[in-house]
C-alpha cells in the first residue's frame, strides 16, 4: 500500500513514505505545524491505510474536533485508531480502548510498539512526549523505528523545536529518514509560514521552500510569496521586474505602466511573484492593497533624479504601515550623473540597516543582489537549511 504525505508539492518531491521509514515534521514553536501530520494521516486514512494517532496534550474529544475543523471526520473511519495518553495523565477516564499513563515509561513503550505493529502509519507527537514523559523518552526512539522497519509500518513524528538540549534534537534528527521543516518567516513578527524538505534518505532531492497557509476546512495550502516593487514615476520599476523575472508582463499605455507589472521568478529554491505598481499618486490605493498581502518591498529610485526622492519616501510610508522589510534599488547607475548609494541613503534619510543596492535594470546589473538582500532581511529562517540537525553523510 502506497503511503504519501498528502502535502502539496512535498508529494511531488518524495513520491511516498516507503515502508519502515520515519518522516519528521520539525516545527517552529510559533507555527501551527501539527496540521501537517493530521493531513498526512487523513490522506492515507481515505485511501484505506490503517492509521493511528497519539495524543498527550489534548483530550480525545478535542483531537477529533481539531480534525473536524479542517473537514477531516476521522472518527467515522474504521481504519482509524486514537491512542490516548492524555486522559490517564490528567486523571480522567479514557474514552479510547488504547490508552496508557505517560508517567509509566514501560506501558508507553509497549503501547507504542503494539500500535506500530498493527498499523500502516502511526503519528507520534515526539516533543509532547518529551514534555510530558521527560527527555529520557527520546532514548526509546531507536526501538520504535526498528519496530516500524520490522513490521513494514511508517512513522510520522511531530517535533516542535522548543529550546531542547542539543543531544535531544540530534537524537530525533538522527532517527528520522526524512525531515520536513515547518517554519515561520521571522521579521519583528512572523510574516508568513513555509515548509521545506531538509533531509530525505530515499531520494536525491534539491531542497526548496514552499510558503503555505492553513485553510479551514482544507488544511495546508501552498502559495507563492508576493514581493512588491514600487517607486516614483519613471524610476525603472517595469524594467527591473522584466530584468529579474523568468517571465513578466506589464499593462502599459503610452509607454508607462497604468495598472500592474507582474513578474515570476524561480530563485534560490523559491517561486516568487513580483508585483510592480504604477508610480503616479492616483494609483496609491493599489499600493496599499498589495501591501497587505506582500512579504517584502523593493523600492526602485532613479539615481539621477533626487527631486523624485520625496515621492519615493512617501510611497515607502504607504507600505511602512504594514511593517514589511524593504530594500532600495538605486537604479540607472549606468548613467554618468547617477548618485552613489550612500549619497541616496543620506538624501533619503534611510537608516543604516536598509540595504541600498546599485542597479542598472536596463543592463540587468545588480538586480539579483536586490533580491538576495531582501531574502536576507527576511532572516535566515526563511532559508531551508539543515544547520540545526546532525545530518548523517
Amino acid at each position: 500500500m502506497k503511503v504519501v504525505t498528502g502535502i502539496p508539492v512535498l508529494d511531488d518531491m518524495v513520491e511516498e513514505i516507503p515502508e519502515g521509514k520515519v518522516l519528521t515534521y520539525w516545527i517552529d514553536p510559533e507555527v501551527e505545524g501539527n496540521v501537517f501530520a493530521m493531513q498526512t494521516l487523513f490522506t492515507n486514512l481515505e485511501s484505506g491505510c490503517k492509521c493511528a494517532y497519539f495524543t498527550l496534550t489534548l483530550s480525545p474529544e478535542v483531537v477529533l474536533s481539531e480534525f473536524e475543523e479542517f473537514g477531516w471526520v476521522v472518527g467515522s473511519y474504521e481504519n482509524f485508531t486514537l491512542v490516548d495518553l492524555y486522559s490517564p495523565y490528567v486523571g480522567m477516564p479514557s474514552t479510547c480502548s488504547l490508552n496508557a499513563d505517560p508517567s509509566n515509561r514501560d506501558a508507553v513503550d509497549s503501547l507504542v510498539k503494539k500500535t506500530i505493529r498493527e498499523n500502516d502509519l502511526v503519528v507520534i507527537p515526539i516533543s509532547s512526549m518529551i514534555d510530558v514523559c521527560g527527555e529520557e523518552v527520546a532514548e526509546l526512539l531507536g526501538e520504535w523505528c526498528e519496530t516500524a522497519a520490522n513490521s513494514g509500518s511508517r512513522l510520522v513524528f511531530t517535533f516542535v523545536s522548543w529550546p531542547y538540549p542539543g543531544n535531544v534534537k540530534k537524537m530525533v534528527a538522527n532517527r528520522s529518514n526524512a525531515i520536513v521543516k515547518v517554519g515561520g518567516v521571522h521579521h519583528r513578527v512572523i510574516l508568513g509560514y513555509y515548509y521545506g524538505l531538509v533531509k530525505v534518505d530515499w531520494k536525491n532531492i534539491k531542497s526548496r521552500a514552499i510558503l503555505f497557509k492553513l485553510v479551514r476546512p482544507g488544511g495546508v495550502r501552498a502559495y507563492i510569496p508576493k514581493i512588491l516593487v514600487t517607486g516614483p514615476y519613471n524610476a525603472g520599476k517595469s524594467t527591473f521586474v522584466h530584468a529579474v523575472s523568468t517571465r513578466a508582463i506589464s499593462v502599459d499605455r503610452l509607454g508607462t505602466t497604468v495598472a500592474l507589472d507582474h513578474g515570476h521568478l524561480e530563485y534560490r529554491g523559491f517561486s516568487i511573484d513580483l508585483f510592480g505598481t504604477p508610480g503616479q499618486e492616483r494609483f496609491d490605493p493599489i499600493l496599499r492593497m498589495l501591501g497587505k498581502e506582500a512579504l517584502g518591498v523593493i523600492l526602485v529610485v532613479d539615481s539621477t533624479k533626487p527631486e523624485t526622492f520625496p515621492r519615493a519616501k512617501q510611497m515607502l510610508e504607504e507600505v511602512a504601515h504594514f511593517g514589511l522589510p524593504y530594500v532600495v534599488a538605486a537604479n540607472k547607475q549606468d548613467l554618468p550623473d547617477a548618485l552613489s548609494p550612500e549619497e541616496i541613503r543620506k538624501r533619503m534619510f534611510l537608516p543604516e540597516d536598509v540595504p541600498v543596492i546599485p542597479v542598472s535594470a536596463i543592463k540587468g546589473e545588480g538586480v539579483y543582489r536586490v533580491i538576495d538582500a531582501l531574502l536576507e532581511l527576511l532572516t535566515g529562517s526563511w532559508q531551508v537549511s539543515g544547520d540545526e540537525f546532525e545530518i548523517p553523510a
Binding site: I27, E30, L56, T57, L58, L64, W162, V189, F322
Partner: protein
C-alpha cells in the same frame, strides 16, 4: 514608555511577572491596566487559563472592542470540545503550549500588519500552566514567548500565584522577566511594589474593588 504605577514606567519589550497571594488584587490590577491601555489605542492580547472568554468580555463591558482586543481562552475547549474560534477569540487547552504560542504569534502578526505597534499581552495565569506541565517545559515555552515580546516591542504581564510553587520554580521563572510587580496583604491591608534589577519602589497601600486597583 508605559506608566504602570505612579513611579514606574516600562520600556517597550518588557516582560513583567505579577506575583502575590490569592485575592491580593493582582488580577484586577492587570485587567484594569489592560483595559486602560487598550482604550488608549494599544492592541491587546489576553490569555485566560482560569476564566472563559465570555466572562472576561462581560467584565470588560463597554470597553470590549474585538478589533483591539484578542483573547486566547484556554478554559472552554477542554470543557466543550467543539467550541468554535472567531477572528478575535481563539480556544486552546492549557497543555497545548504550541497552540497557545502559535495563536499569540498570529495575533501579533495581525496587529503588526494593521499598523498597530503598541501591544500589551497578559498571561492570566502561568500558575495554571505550571499545574499541568513541568517547569522545564514551561520555561522553554516562556523563553520563546518573552523573546517574541522583546522583538515586537510589546509589554507583557504574567500572573503567578504566591504559595502555589516552590522557591526553585519562582527563581527559575524570574530569570525570564525584566521586573516584577509584587503584591502582599498584611493586617487586612493590601500593598504593591515594583522590583527590577534597576529599580525598587517602596510598598504602597492599594484599594481594590472589582473594577480597579488604586494606590492610596
Amino acid at each position: 514608555m508605559c506608566r504602570i504605577l505612579p513611579e514606574v514606567e516600562l520600556k517597550k519589550g518588557s516582560n513583567i511577572m505579577v506575583y502575590g497571594p490569592t485575592f491580593s488584587g493582582k488580577s484586577i490590577f492587570v485587567r484594569s491596566l489592560f483595559r486602560d491601555l487598550t482604550s488608549e489605542g494599544y492592541g491587546g492580547i489576553y490569555v485566560l487559563t482560569r476564566d472563559s472568554a465570555e466572562s472576561f468580555i462581560e467584565w470588560l463591558g463597554e470597553y470590549y472592542d474585538p478589533e483591539k482586543i484578542k483573547i486566547i481562552d484556554c478554559v472552554t475547549k477542554s470543557m466543550l470540545g467543539n467550541a468554535r474560534d472567531t477572528d478575535s477569540i481563539k480556544r486552546e487547552t492549557v497543555m497545548d503550549l504550541t497552540g497557545i504560542s502559535a495563536k499569540i504569534s498570529k495575533f501579533f502578526e495581525e496587529f503588526w500588519r494593521s499598523g498597530v505597534r503598541d501591544v500589551v499581552l497578559v498571561f492570566d495565569s502561568l500558575s495554571t500552566i505550571l499545574m499541568y506541565m513541568n517547569l522545564q517545559t514551561v520555561f522553554r515555552f516562556l523563553h520563546i514567548l518573552t523573546g517574541r515580546v522583546k522583538m515586537t516591542g510589546a509589554i507583557a504581564f504574567y500572573i503567578v500565584e504566591e504559595g502555589m510553587h516552590d522557591e526553585k520554580t519562582i527563581v527559575t521563572l524570574k530569570q525570564l522577566f525584566s521586573g516584577m510587580i509584587e503584591f502582599k496583604e498584611e493586617n487586612g491591608r493590601k500593598y504593591v511594589r515594583f522590583v527590577s534589577p534597576f529599580k525598587k519602589t517602596e510598598w504602597s497601600e492599594i484599594a481594590v474593588d472589582e473594577n480597579a486597583v488604586v494606590v492610596v
